[in-house]
């Protein structure tokens, strides 16, 4: 069953001097339960595509459908709610909030839902247990290793129970051992039913996922 579809997506970045065509007529469909790897050389538009898919960026042309809902003309509030309920993000550089401790970082997406404080904490602890960091709830991001930070970030992406997880080079800043841990976690999540789209440079990792798409120079080539 189709959960995401990109139709004729193009993205142009215009600065004063130059116009960059980051994506050109990209079509892509992701089915529920997929684990999709996105590959391609640096600068080919992988992150741009993932951000558009996650409603973090707006395409210059084309349509993004998620759960068969056209998101093109969504208002800020509806868009925010959509991101909150349906999508979870994992970034290469973690993007944890430094002034919040681990527990509060993980609770962050739940702040934007109607939910009691104790319920938020219960859920956050539950996912922290899953990523093996329940003993670090009071730590701040600066007190954690890179791998631990990424596990917190994954917990944050999971806490709202989204159907889709979008990960942009989640292992990019980690050594191979920590990277493997993170991948194990993602595979486990996929087995539990989450749809995952992941950008990666690592051919080995990509091979283990269910499906690979390749980009070159703003176009999908495979």
């Amino acid at each position: 069953m189709q959960i995401i579809s990109l139709e004729n997506i193009s993205k142009v970045y215009s600065t004063k001097e130059i116009e960059t065509l980051a994506l050109e007529n990209v079509n892509l469909e992701v089915n529920k339960g997929d684990f999709l790897s996105v590959m391609g050389p640096s600068g080919c538009g992988k992150s741009t595509m993932l951000n558009i898919m996650g409603l973090l960026d707006i395409p210059t042309g084309g349509r993004v459908n998620i759960n068969r809902v056209d998101t093109t003309n969504m208002k800020d509030k509806a868009m925010a709610e959509f991101r909150n309920k349906t999508l979870g993000f994992v970034f290469q550089s973690f993007h944890l909030v430094n002034s919040l401790n681990v527990l509060d970082n993980v609770e962050l997406p739940l702040l934007y839902r109607k939910m009691s404080g104790s319920e938020r904490t219960r859920r956050a602890k539950e996912v922290l247990e899953k990523v093996g960091l329940v003993h670090r709830t009071k730590h701040f991001p600066s007190q954690l290793s890179g791998g631990q930070c990424q596990r917190v970030a994954i917990a944050r992406a999971l806490v709202g129970n989204p159907e889709i997880i979008l990960a942009d080079e989640p292992t990019g800043n980690l050594d191979s051992k920590m990277g493997a841990e993170i991948m194990d976690l993602l595979f486990q999540l996929n087995n539990e039913g989450a749809t995952i789209v992941m950008v990666t440079h690592d051919e080995h990792i990509a091979k283990k996922t269910k499906c690979i798409v390749r980009f070159f120079d703003g176009r999908r080539v495979q």
């Binding site: 996650g54 973090l56 960026d57 707006i58 709610e81 909030v97 919040l100 709202g160």
Partner: protein
């Protein structure tokens, strides 16, 4: 939700100690500064000992005379005008006239040691309109005044300098080489009490040339609402006076309230404009005094927000909409402002307490005696404090919410990158 924001706000404040300290202290000082400006203004018009009825007092000390021959004189209030137009007033509760403060040479009877002091020649009503704390003796009476007998009330300062701790009452001193009997001693008066301050007070009738002196007139209204009626009665008397001799027209400049007297109104024709212009000036000063620190503070809140662009990106990515983001920024700024405001309140209060005595007294002995103060409420207006405080919060919040609003509209990707 707000509990989490609160926790985070405190954490950020602690993390960025220098910036936080500067913006909190900045808010506090801005408030204190304005409170001081207000206080300095207030001390000139608030009821303070001995001028305890400033709110009901009206003054007049200038006049214009136009002659039919074309001459026009702007002058201090002369005795004739005082006697004809002002001393007969019936509306006020009390009236008094005082000769402009002059320097007088003073020495103890028989002593060659001479000093110069400030002399005020006045009447017996003066002691009823103002409330002087006597340490010895008493003031001169209506009988003393009417008879023009040379008696004097001196300040503690003179008593100390001339009598060196001995009892002063009953002794005689020479004022401008004429012997005066000391009737009483009062505590030292601040120079800020410009209508009552002096070192020596004598009945003006004791000076033979008193009809040639320049006067300052005060009327104590029964009630503030009587001001217009008093002015009206002055005009009536003035008209009568002008009817006697049509070769000249007297135009009394006043009477004015204590705060109007501060404006230096040069003629009765200018009065209305002067008062309006002054109100505008005061508002302008207040606005500038508020805006300058606000601009400085806003750069701090701006830099704080800039540092948190990526956080804003993260929050949006995980479901925050514009309103919740702006709400959070406002809330956080409110916390800083509240802390700054509380500190400002304490600072203002300390400033009021420590400057109060400085403003009101001119000698250490008064400071020590401590009886000379006035109630705090005369200086420290809670409503002014609150107004300034709210303005500070508003400016603080505004300076943070504009960048926050812009950040919230930024594409999330850009926010995340910064």
């Amino acid at each position: 939700m707000y509990k989490v924001y609160f926790k985070q706000a405190l954490h950020i404040l602690k993390q960025d100690r220098l910036i936080s300290a500067i913006s909190i202290i900045g808010t506090a000082l801005a408030i204190t500064m304005i409170m001081l400006v207000y206080m300095v203004q207030e001390v000139k018009t608030a009821n303070v000992l001995p001028e305890i009825h400033r709110d009901r007092s009206m003054y007049l000390n200038m006049m214009d005379i136009k002659y039919n021959t074309g001459g026009r004189w702007r002058a201090m209030l002369k005795y004739e005008a005082l006697k004809e137009c002002l001393l007969p007033l019936k509306t006020p509760e009390n009236i008094s006239a005082t000769v402009m403060l002059t320097d007088a040479v003073v020495n103890m009877e028989g002593s060659a040691e001479r000093n110069t002091y400030q002399l005020r020649q006045t009447d017996d009503n003066f002691w009823k309109i103002y409330s002087f704390p006597f340490t010895e003796g008493k003031a001169f009476t209506k009988e003393d005044f009417d008879s023009g007998i040379p008696v004097v009330v001196i300040s503690q300062k003179i008593a100390k300098e001339i009598f060196k701790g001995q009892q002063a009452v009953g002794k005689t001193i020479d004022i401008n080489f004429i012997p005066y009997k000391v009737l009483g001693v009062v505590k030292n008066i601040s120079m800020l009490c410009r209508y009552s301050f002096a070192d020596l007070w004598i009945p003006y009738t004791s000076v033979p040339s008193y009809t040639n002196s320049m006067y300052n007139f005060v009327a104590l209204a029964k009630h503030k609402n009587d001001f217009d009626a008093i002015k009206e009665e002055v005009l009536v008397n003035q008209k009568k006076y002008n009817a006697i001799d049509t070769t000249r027209v007297l135009d009394l400049n006043g009477p004015y309230t204590v705060s109007q007297m501060l404006l230096d109104i040069y003629s009765s024709e200018d009065a209305a404009n002067e008062i309006k212009a002054n109100t505008r000036r005061n508002i302008l000063i207040l606005v500038i005094a508020l805006i300058i620190p606000a601009i400085n503070l806003s750069s701090f809140s701006l830099s704080r927000i800039r540092k948190r662009m990526s956080e804003i990106g993260v929050r949006k990515a995980f479901g925050a909409n514009k309103f919740s983001l702006i709400g959070q920024v406002l809330y956080e700024n409110m916390i800083t402002s509240l802390i700054g405001g509380a500190l400002g309140f304490i600072l203002s209060f300390i400033a009021v307490v420590s400057l109060r005595d400085l403003l009101l007294s001119d000698s250490l002995s008064v400071l020590q005696s401590g009886e000379f103060g006035l109630s705090m409420s005369a200086f420290f207006s809670l409503s002014v404090f609150l107004a300034v405080f709210l303005a500070c919060i508003a400016l603080n919040v505004l300076s943070a919410s504009i960048p926050a609003f812009r950040a919230s509209r930024l594409p999330i990707v850009n926010a995340l990158k910064s």
